[in-house]
Amino acid sequence: MSTESFVFEGGAHKHKLLVELIEDLGGWVVQKKILAQEATITFTIPNTADVPLLRERVLELRGALREQPLLGTEIGVIAPTIARHHLPHLLCDIAEYMRRLGAKTNMIGLARGVGQRIAQITTQEKKIIEEHDAAIFVLGNFEYCLKEYKWKLYKDITIPFVVTGGPPLESVPHAEYYIGNVGRLPYRFRRLEEIDKLQEIGNAVSQCIKKVRSFMAHDPPMIPSFAVKEEIERQVNEIKEVFSPSPIVPKIRGVRVKLPYSQFREKIANVRIGDYLLKEIADIKKSNFRDYILVQLLSQSQIHTK
């Protein structure tokens, strides 16, 4: 059993039939936007076997369905620095494409990631990167640099990551996934073969995510992060006053709530989910991002031992 995520686009007329089906299948509607006659519904269902049923309903409604393999994940797109040598073209293209696959992306520029001998990454940066579910390191054009020096940046990262670079190599040291022909380039990606390259990166990242999910399935958390998100939205009214585009960021194992840690820790910890309080089934920590709250769901075995 594995979850499947989709985005539906079609007429708003009778879209409630689809929402009902999703609810019957035990899924979650993550986002529902109705603009004039058009409906965009992002949702996830718990069982792959139900997908044909879903497709049939979508065809009935004359709408369209697209898979969102990265829905509910947060991905960091990392460049050596934020100078114009590395930004904006490539990094924006990659980040935007990941967003289209359903992920929430953060673009991160390291402080001193450039060069060969002088390339370095700080502990704080590592912590920030490791708060994501997966990372993409966007590196440069020279084979010598990639093979000899650049692995310093990602060698100790514990989350799954993909490395992209210019030369078409089979692999680079210390990295599981390497995508070539995506180096420092002075233009946006427009041609078909370039879009295919982005899709290749997307596939590599979704493989990473799949591995994490299948590993987690052996000892899953009590409830998925979408349910936690829904409950926090229902019980903490202050979240409606946060102006960020996504006040609660769902991740594979937990959520990040964009409220100040010092003021709202207790309130978030005491959110009631079924028979439990959130603090009983999750660790509530201070996020490495500003002053936000990080909720990390415990697996079922951890809850029993707590």
């Binding site: 450039v114 054009n141 010598y144 030369p167």
Partner: protein
């Protein structure tokens, strides 16, 4: 079109690796973006990525004439001093800089945006007319230096820039510069430049290509039916 920009690997055993080809593309884009291609006669970029250093050697050619004060102003002798009326306002900041440098700020009186007065005991009208207000060489040189900064990888912060006749030379590295590297690069300059063949560049150039792949947008009904 005559090729102006050459990117070469100092190690001639691997003349056309991915790094060299991509930096040729980057250099072409940067020079086109900053509109300095017209002012360049030739540029040679020599790369040694293992030491590592970037060596850029550019020959500039200036087509424009120097602009003198008489070209952009009308000058008359009045009771209170020499009266300068600015005709072309786009050069006004440069003109003011020159006058301030020559006579000091206290001696240049600005009546309004277009009118200036300089004391007549400091200079004669004939000499004033001959002063160079704008040197196109300075403007172009600054632009070319900016272009080079954009091309050279960001890590290469140890730089040495030199100007000689019509040539601008920059050597940049992330390690302390060694005199042997400059010697190495200058020896490489004596060999005629190596042009990157078009078939290598075509892979990275963003030119339209014919594709036979048929694409059906995912929002269409037939696409949804096809994956049912």
């Amino acid at each position: 079109m005559v090729e102006k920009v050459f990117v070469e690997n100092i190690d001639r055993s691997q003349p056309f690796n991915y790094g060299i080809i991509s930096y040729k593309i980057i250099a072409d884009y940067v020079f086109a973006d900053l509109a300095v291609s017209g002012a360049l006669e030739s540029v040679r970029i020599l790369v040694d990525i293992e030491k590592p250093f970037f060596f850029i050697h550019a020959k500039i050619k200036i087509m424009e004439e120097k602009i003198r004060i008489s070209d952009i102003t009308t000058i008359t002798l009045e009771k209170e001093g020499i009266h300068i009326t600015i005709e072309d306002e786009s050069y006004a900041p440069d003109l003011l800089q020159v006058l301030w440098k020559q006579f000091g700020r206290e001696n240049v009186t600005q009546i309004d945006r277009w009118n200036l007065i300089v004391p007549s005991n400091l200079i004669t009208i004939e000499n004033l007319k001959q002063i160079v207000a704008v040197d196109p060489r300075d403007r172009i040189t600054n632009k070319i230096l900016d272009a080079m900064n954009r091309i050279i990888p960001e890590a290469f912060r140890v730089r040495k820039t030199s100007f000689k006749d019509d040539y601008i030379t920059i050597i940049a590295s992330e390690n302390p510069l060694e005199p042997t590297w400059i010697q190495l690069a200058e020896n490489a300059l004596k060999i005629p430049p190596l042009r990157i063949p078009e078939e290598y560049l075509e892979k990275l150039k963003q030119t339209p290509k014919v594709s036979k792949k048929k694409i059906v947008p995912w929002k269409t009904h037939e696409f949804q039916e096809s994956i049912k």
